[in-house]
């Protein structure tokens, strides 16, 4: 479990880093124990790298959907400084 009070994390790497905003929703939010975090990460990173940093190294569950800046994408998308990266379970509206 990740506590929201532990939101800002140290970078994995030495050298240049960037900051991205991470959001979790629904059952994933409950599993993670918070609705998001601000993550500092190396300046070349994918959404999957952001997940690893934010989750403390947990494997990305296979059914989790990924959005960067509110657009659906996949875990291999490169993220840039200031991006908002969201992870959530399959949607069930309507």
């Amino acid at each position: 479990m990740i506590g929201c009070s532990d939101a800002v994390r140290k970078p994995l790497f030495e050298g240049n880093s960037m900051t991205v905003k991470v959001k979790f929703f629904a059952s994933l939010k409950e599993q993670m124990g918070c609705d998001g975090a601000t993550v500092e990460i190396g300046e070349v990173a994918t959404a999957a790298d952001v997940w690893l940093q934010a989750s403390g190294g947990k494997a990305l569950p296979p059914n989790v959907l990924v959005a960067v800046n509110m657009e659906y994408t996949d875990q291999n998308q490169t993220v840039t400084n200031g991006d908002e990266v969201a992870f959530f379970p399959p949607v069930t509206g309507g």
Binding site: A26, S27, E71, V91, G94
Partner: protein, 149 residues
């Protein structure tokens, strides 16, 4: 075109009547030949259990963007006169309306097909999540939507 995502309970039939009277008919006098409407309502049962209530979570911002994109896609694929889409979020009780899709067009083919498409696209793409309240204080996230086709 009107898109509403809101916590307040609403009456879909009154919304359709009011929107048609105040917006659609004045904008297209004599041109409307068809209106197709879908209303989704909260059941008091699911997967063999009684459901006492529901919380609808959403991703503010992305929800509206994705819904807008779905409506834009429908407008590009069919010749439509107007669309009204309303979706509840927050706390719901059984029998309360969850979602309304209303489509106005000159002919029924466009209204039927666009209404169906918008609803199915919403179900598979719009970032909403349902959490059910069951007996005994138990909660359960709905894990996936049933197939609509």
């Amino acid at each position: 075109m009107r898109l509403v995502v809101d916590k307040a309970p609403f009456s879909p039939w009154e919304s359709v009547a009011r929107y048609e009277r105040e917006v659609v008919t004045p904008s297209f006098p004599g041109k409307v030949g068809a209106a197709a409407t879908f209303v989704g309502t909260m059941r008091d049962f699911n997967e063999g259990d009684e459901v006492r209530g529901m919380t609808l979570e959403h991703y503010p911002g992305m929800t509206e963007r994705e819904l807008q994109r779905i409506l834009d896609e429908a407008g590009g694929r069919w010749t439509l006169l107007d669309v009204l889409l309303h979706h509840r979020v927050g706390e719901l009780s059984p029998q309360e309306p969850i979602v309304l899709v209303a489509v106005w067009s000159a002919h029924r083919k466009e209204a039927f097909e666009a209404c169906r498409h918008i609803m199915e696209a919403l179900k598979s793409r719009a970032p909403f999540w349902k959490k059910e309240q069951l007996d005994g204080g138990h909660h359960r996230w709905v894990e996936k939507n049933s197939d609509g086709y």
